[in-house]
Symmetry: D2
Subunit: 159 residues, 4 copies
């Protein structure tokens, strides 16, 4: 069994909606999924996860202060998250508005924890991005991410 933790911050509800789509897809793929806003997520939940998916709106090109607080706090687990699967997603108001730098900000944190991440050769390469509310395209990206994360975590667990 794969445990997926999805941590997000959301002001308008767009990022939360993305989190829910990813969660539904990961559940369908057979995982046990926990979806948590960043201010409620705990280090115990991080430690228990096989895969960690982080999502944030784009605030000045990066994830929100609330998300970075959650990440800063995860230092207490430093070294203990090595080898888990990580992934990220983001929403912003505009094309060219900082979506990619926000996702990469989250991926950097996951890499520094020693996690394993995978890109996507089709669609949104670094992770799903939505411009405003997730449209059909962004929804499909989120669905695919949920499935891919579970598949990768399952491969690593079997090994």
């Amino acid at each position: 069994m794969i445990n997926v933790l999805i941590v997000y911050t959301s002001h308008t509800g767009n990022t939360k909606k993305m989190a829910e789509i990813i969660a539904e897809s990961a559940t369908t793929a057979g995982a046990t999924v926990l979806v948590r806003p960043a201010h409620e997520a705990t280090n115990d939940e991080l430690a228990a996860a096989d895969a960690v998916v982080l999502g944030s709106p784009t605030y000045y090109g990066h994830s929100s202060g609330e998300m970075r607080h959650f990440i800063d706090h995860s230092v207490k687990l430093h070294g203990k998250l090595e080898g888990k699967v990580g992934a990220a997603f983001a929403s912003s108001h505009n094309i060219g508005g900082g979506n990619e730098t926000t996702i990469l900000d989250l991926l950097h944190a996951l890499l520094i924890h020693g996690m394993v991440i995978q890109g996507n050769s089709s669609g949104d390469h670094y992770g799903p991005v939505a411009i405003g509310a997730p449209d059909a395209r962004a929804t499909r990206q989120c669905e695919e991410l949920g499935c891919r994360v579970v598949a990768l975590a399952a491969r690593l667990q079997r090994a």
Copy 2:
């Protein structure tokens, strides 16, 4: 008088079209503008410019090898481009397809040459991005960039 050099690479013509829109806008703003494909642009042209605008399609999240060759070659001018104005633009096939990382790749090169760059608090923050051929939105971003680059170079020249 402000001299603007616009250097681009383009496979499908989309990035070239963006270069031309920026050039027209910069010309309207009163500058003398030279538009050059990267494989023809010279270090003498770089040295003569008050403002340098680089544009590339998104190839694996970054500017093309051809553009990077042009940048690598500019090392012969290292230190001599300090204080010039720089800017960048990019096109890609998809949202989330590496547009922002491509623009930032170009901005990093300009910063390492000691150039002065300005972001944009509205629209495409790091520089104009087009998804496929430049649509009305991307065209407007390119027009605005041409104007802004000339305005900033003029401010710095007057000082």
Copy 3:
């Protein structure tokens, strides 16, 4: 007269030390300098500055949650900081430990506010980085940054 605002977060004191070196250099260059920890800095202070310098330790490859909270909060001034000078610096524990991504995180925020930033063709290209406490090399980078920021702000003010 140039007003410089330096905003930092610091846990071990290393980033604070960098802020103080930059402040001293900017003061020597003729500016009025305000040095503020991020949790005390205000939007009024941001609005009053001609140049804004942000510094943070490297927490998981990016600036601290506290710094990002300060940046998130600056949205109330969105559009009003256009054309100000911006710069950034960072400290981390290790080479390859995320220093550059932290500085770029801060520069992205400044660009999205429409600010003007300048790279450095010698030394630390994106902004001063310290590995641990600022050594002679990092101190020199900080001194140079303080001077360069004031010079650029003065050029833009005269224009």
Copy 4:
């Protein structure tokens, strides 16, 4: 059996030396390793690899034009490299000189090919960096990378 392909460009020999250290470590870990300069590496070699490690000197904050040409050319394999293991390393002249942005440039390309990458919670987080010739610290980072890449590829192969 794990096949590792290490592709590098090197002007001064520093990046080549890093490639050789990684190769030796990967060989010790049981892999068959091919080390190739970017202008000689082929798409067939890419297709045959279980793990791809890219290394470049830092030219204006990114990988060399030669490396980007190799990457651009790999588009003919697009979609066929999904799920392989990827990693990157870089050398530069200075701390703060663009090492991290160079490694991330390479990692972006690997992610866009759909590859699987892993960060490192200790040492150089995104991949080994050398300041000039690889010293004892950088050598250790390269040794560790060679071993980690083989271990991850083996896990994925077993699954």
